[in-house]
Amino acid sequence: MSDRKISGLSKPAVPILTIRNLDKTFLSDKGNVTALKGVDLTVSKGEFVCLLGASGCGKSTLLRIIGGFEGPSSGHAEIYGSAIKGPGPDRGMVFQDYALFPWLTVEENIAFGPKHQGRTRAETAEVTDKFMEMVGLTGFRNTYPNALSGGMKQRVAIARVLANDADILLMDEPFAALDALTRAKLQEELLEIWERTRLTIIFVTHSVEEAVILSDRIVVMGAGPGHIETDISVDLARPRDPASIPFNDVRRDVSNQLRSHIAPALRKSQLAEA
């Protein structure tokens, strides 16, 4: 909180997402869980923001509130100044477990959004083709998700929200279940897509390296209850080389920040990972 910086110096900072003093408590018979407390966050149009933190610190909850799948217990969450009321096509969520419609082909999955927003058949086909090509799946248009690899499924999920004309891409550890090579490839592709479309992306991860490779800005979260610890801007030139010295300087810096904020019980496992 203390050392927040506003990044995106080269771009005019139009706030697309504003979160103010947000709390989230899950009520249940077994006891209430406060997942988020006093969260403030502003994201500008076109920014690539990573939410970084150990598991259980409320990253998914925050993302789901932005997506409109959960409501805040108190505080405000606004898109372009108006309160978020439920899920909508302006915010496209990419789930870790893909959440593709298994009974639809690759093409039909991507066409799902445009079709349900009442676009004409021709428009839908055009948009679908465009994004199917962007994620390199034109050859698999008639394949069902069951027959696709994890990486391909996630490409379909990304194309599906792109075709839906989302302004903000919400991604919840989308590459965590993929092998390292596929993950690196998809990170690269995602950056290419981001550069072409200039979407705003909020990307949840627990990997420091992934956050430094991808984002303009890393929002470090802490647990007990979930809150934002620090907000670090990443001013490395793109494309970024994970083997370069500046990259490693930033990575070390972020790792240190993360480490100094996590609870002692979590510290050991986090150290092993970093």
Partner: protein
């Protein structure tokens, strides 16, 4: 095999060996699909052939006159289907009885589908409806369909309507329960994904709920149709003049066991074939999920 093909063989005998292996393999490749099919049919035929043999031997050894030997039943089946042997009331009457029963089975079954599938979708989706209907449905469900027979005869009289009602009752519950279960087991993430993509309200039924629940709905349809064929016999024992169940009843009163067994075999085969039809539809509509293929 592939290693043999890749490595150059030093001696003529080895190469000869490889060649003959290759020939054998190509023969096998050509016919492997058909061979597998034949194998499957042959395996499936072992038990029925043994049963018929046992039947024949049993009739001979005991010298019973109550049960006809298989050959006599075969003759009866021929006469029932095409006539020209006994020339009695049942000769060449199979098409009539068959058609009447098929109409009743599918009439009752379709009625059950039309009511149970939408109701199951709604109950699965709306907790309020579930809270309202679940107690009633749970109380009615354990009552055996045959226990409805007297009441159904009072409601619908002695006739086809009564039979259709019993078939309907028997098919209704498996379809309803499986549909509810299918809706319940739809992954919540799919609803979230649909909502995010702008699919809401009644669109959700067509675009998410129904396709996602299709595997379980088909499970219910198969069970329901199975029960329908079982219950048609009960339904047609209530004194209707035509139908496969009526034929079995007549056979009993006339002490014509060959007719009874013929009726049983025809029902078995028809029930099997109508299950195959559902399986075909199942595999076509669920081509996205090989694990649900039958």
């Amino acid at each position: 095999m592939s290693i043999q093909e890749l490595t150059p063989s030093p001696t003529p005998s080895a190469s000869q060996q490889a060649q003959s292996d290759k020939a054998a393999q190509s023969v096998q490749l050509l016919s492997s699909a058909t061979r597998r099919k034949i194998n499957k049919v042959a395996l499936g035929a072992i038990v029925p052939v043994c049963l018929i043999l046992l039947w024949e031997l049993g009739v001979r050894w005991t010298g019973t006159r109550l049960i006809p030997p298989p050959y006599q039943v075969a003759v009866m089946m021929w006469d029932f289907a095409f006539g020209g042997i006994y020339d009695d009331a049942f000769s060449a009457s199979l098409p009539t009885h068959f058609w009447v029963s098929v109409q009743r089975v599918y009439g009752g079954f379709l009625l059950a589908v039309v009511l149970a599938v939408p109701l199951g979708l709604m109950i699965g989706r709306f907790p309020l409806l579930k809270a309202m209907l679940d107690p009633t449905l749970s109380l009615l469900r354990p009552v055996p369909v045959t226990a409805w027979l007297p009441l159904s005869m009072i409601f619908f009289g002695l006739g086809p309507k009564s039979a259709i009602f019993l078939v309907f009752l028997g098919a209704f519950y498996p379809i309803l329960l499986n549909t509810i279960f299918g809706v319940k087991s739809v992954d919540d993430k799919l609803f979230e994904a649909a909502a995010m993509l702008g699919c809401n309200g009644s669109q959700l039924f067509r675009s998410v709920v129904i396709p996602a629940a299709t595997p379980q709905i088909f499970n219910g349809l198969r069970l329901g149709l199975g029960f329908a064929w079982i219950l048609i016999v009960v339904g047609e024992m209530t004194g209707v003049p035509e139908g496969l169940g009526a034929v079995i009843m007549d056979g009993r009163t006339l002490s014509r066991t060959d007719l009874v067994i013929t009726g049983m075999i025809v029902i078995g085969i028809t029930g099997f074939l109508s299950d195959r039809l559902i399986v075909l539809a199942n595999n076509y509509l669920l081509k996205w999920s090989p694990q649900h293929h039958v």
